[in-house]
Amino acid sequence: MLTRSLLKLGLRDLLRRRWQTGLMVLGVALGVAVVLAIDMANASARRGFSLSTEAIVGRATHQIVDGPSGVPDETYRQLRVDWGIHSSAPVVEGTGIAIDFGQEPVTLLGIDPIADAVFRDGLSSLTATPGFGRFYTEPGAGIIGQALAARNGLRPGDHLRIQVNDHITPILVLGVMHPADPSQFGSLDNLILMDVGGAQELLGMPDRVTRIDLIVDAAQAAAIAARLPPGLRIQPSSQERQTAEQLTSAFQLNLTALSLLALVVGMFLIYNTVLFSVLRRRTVLGILVELGVTPAQVFQLVVSEAAIVSAIGAAAGIGLGWLLGRGAVRLTTQTINDLYFLAAVRQPVLDAATVLKGFGLGLGAGIGAAILPAIEAASVLPVTALKRSSLEGRVRARLPWFSLAGGIVVVGGAGLLWLSGQSLALSFAGILAMLLGLAMLTPAATVLGMRLAGPALGRMAGLLGRMAARTVVNALSRTSVAIAALMIALSVTIGVSLMIDSFRATVVNWLGVTLRADLYVSAPSTSGTRPAASLSPGLPDRLRALPGVGAVETFRAVTVSSRLGPVALSVTDASRERQARLYRFAGGTPAQVWAQVIAGSVIVSEPFAYRHAIPPVGGSVTLQTDLGEHTFSVAGIYYDYTSDQGTVLMSDNIYHRYWQDRAISSMGVFLTPGANADQVSAELGAALEGTGLLVQANAAVRQKALAIFDRTFAITAALRVLAVVVAFIGVVSALMALQLERRRELATLQALGLPPGSMWALSFLETGLMGLMAGVLSLPTGLLLAWALIDIINLRSFGWTIRMAVNPYVFVQALLVGVAAALLAAVYPGLQARRESIAEGLRQE
């Protein structure tokens, strides 16, 4: 056990080294904060979706669903009247945009409050409200959720205009729901509750409902399934939640992995600082051992110090994480809304488990990082054996073995990456092992690099140059850890930057292939990548009649059921044959593939083929159509970056053969030769007046798509910056300690006549060399990481092909950051050396 004096000794040392202790606290705090913020963002998105699902699904055990056009009303009548299933309720669900309130997305829910009362709490009190009869009788009347009302100052009697599909409808606010608990209806952030009939009219679903909710047991469910007409299905209501979790799991895992990287870099920082503290105090530790302090107590002393600092850092990190989390929640929610589903999350969720996890990670990382230095401290011999040279000698003697171990870890990581199959977690573990292995090779690379640089530096900067290179090697036990930490952080910057740049370049290229029309007409959308509205099928003919319009191409985006789960189906009119560049694999020439599509085949996107193991030739997809299940042969695999779940593309003539839905989601307008795009755009706008539809030029659509792309990677970029900040702090701390440790040596040089300017030059040369070394080593490591992220992680997460685009600016930037961090580290010790006299410096231990 530690004695009181030993504890005091440790605490006083931490206080005496305020700068280093402060930086270590900051490093741990940032690491914990990043992990916590991402955890919060993921948990908030999950909770937001789960609450809204629970509130909407209520106590329903099963749902009857159909294809894109919905379940016929008649089925509901049959259920209740003919089959006697009274625990059933019709639900009409859709989304719209509150156009007067910052284009907020709203969830429209049409229900029958009486039939629904057994499914969802809070409705009975609602129906008892005086004047509730108008809910059924007043067209376009609705009850809104309290969050929507509070945010926009809406009261009963107010109107709010909602854009749904190709029309704008004013909704009369009949009342505001005040739910008793968050699982109830009214807690839904952007809810508008309407009568079934009103919602059907608003959403353009006459005589159809989105689904019928049921409370039935398994036997009843099976009996219903047997009696349902073709096309209709009964499914457990839990399926929706599972689907949402599956949709976002890869996205969230990627964020978690990246956030953990910040903590790993933080661990390097702690390791480095604790090691420095041990090495600096080796004489004191030796004296303690001489006085009878046991090696176990020395071990405990070092670990306790790290634990104290890590605990303070972790606590600070929780506070910082809460602040960062608010930004992270906004960014991830936006991305989830853009790419996956509408998750109205406004409040970050920070529960006790997340706080404990953050604290535990911070403390664990601190203690874990301190173990090796603590073992080093515990093995300290009495003072006579404590020459620094012998310690560095030992480090150099172990270097070949350490490097060999690093090589083995790299190979092991590569093997794990190779053998990990589709497992994302194992792939990340493989990458982490490779990075750690490369970090272990850093000391050997540093020795080699300095041997090469030394003579050249000697020629350029004379004695100072030779000294700088040798100092880096002579203090290898400290310098190599700092170099490795900075190298890892810079590699992450390079890897992630190259991945984002390559991805962006690929998407830009792909947009050029897919966006061929001059103008696009669509409804304002709650989703970023797929237009989900149902526009009137008569619209294209109206537009074709306008002057300057050569052709109008229609597009329909729907989700259909299949045994594989929900499938995003893209329906396009078959008039325009697709370019060869669109295809990843094609079973023939583009003309042959397109002929097959017109004849009834489909083409599937890359992620779809990857997820469902569809072979390039001879594959098929079975979808639930309105006529029952049908198997479509796959004629090719195409590039598509709109959905990581994948899409199936079908010609409209085939879609109309199997589905009754005739709506369209958006249109591409091709101009006649010589037509003025602005003029045609204005005419289209005039023709579509009152519909709320948007007419956008090709360039604007591309820009919007890239804005969504940039938004998606905003959080990744933020995490990358934070990882670099943690490393920056680590390097500044490590190099600062190294420079402070050499105060006597530097004072000796001054005593011997080295002018102050040369002192600065020497310090900058030493730290700059280390920064440069880290920068140089990070170039191949970063390239390797970029390859792993693009060709392994991205593929296994999303199934996209990304062409690597190597931007030299990224490498230059990494080098500059490395050198800048290192140079900055020399400033404080330099200033301190200026403040004290040479005599004071010479007295330093």
Binding site: L463, T748, L749, A751, G753, S837, A839, L842
Partner: protein, 230 residues
Amino acid sequence: MIRLENLSKTYREGAEARVVLREISVRIPDGEFVAIRGRSGSGKSTLLNLIAGIDLPSSGEVVIDDICLNRLSARDRTLYRRDHIGFVFQFFNLIPTLTVLENARLPAELAGLPSAEADRRALELLARVGLCDRPREFPDRLSGGEQQRVAIARALVQSPTVLLADEPTGNLDRGTGETVLALLTELTRQMGKTLIVVTHSRRIAESADRRLLLEDGRLIADVETIPATG
């Protein structure tokens, strides 16, 4: 000639002021070997640091050959020290990243001497201190006595007028200490340098031309050693 005029040094320790040297006035002619003695904390090392210009007096002046060191800028003091003063430390203070030869030639190199000339001087001095066979060794391979011999070579390489030594044998065993001291005195006498040594040792002090005795920052004795006759 070194002239110390009313030299005082006070250190601030929080709100308190600690006087380390009080009104020291001494004149040391060229070529003299002076030993400064006194108990620990008497101000010996501080006095040496003031003479070297690596610390500044609170009041008074340090004048070497008509140049008042404490009126020079930090840079000029450094350059003066480089060209005119050699320093030998108790803990040798060799630069661990430089070889024996590089350590020895360091002041000459800092002064901008051509490399060949710096090497020639350093090797010559290393030969005189008995280390000409190990110029490429790093300091951690040397014994304490050997390290101090390199430090002496380093101190003399610029042929300074004044050589200052702060307890040069304090970290050596007695035998080695005596050898090192003999070397130091012999070389400085041969070269006609002024040698000022801070020491606890009565034996070293007795071999000096003159002994200054400090107590609580005051110069309480300034004794010339009577050369042995007959």
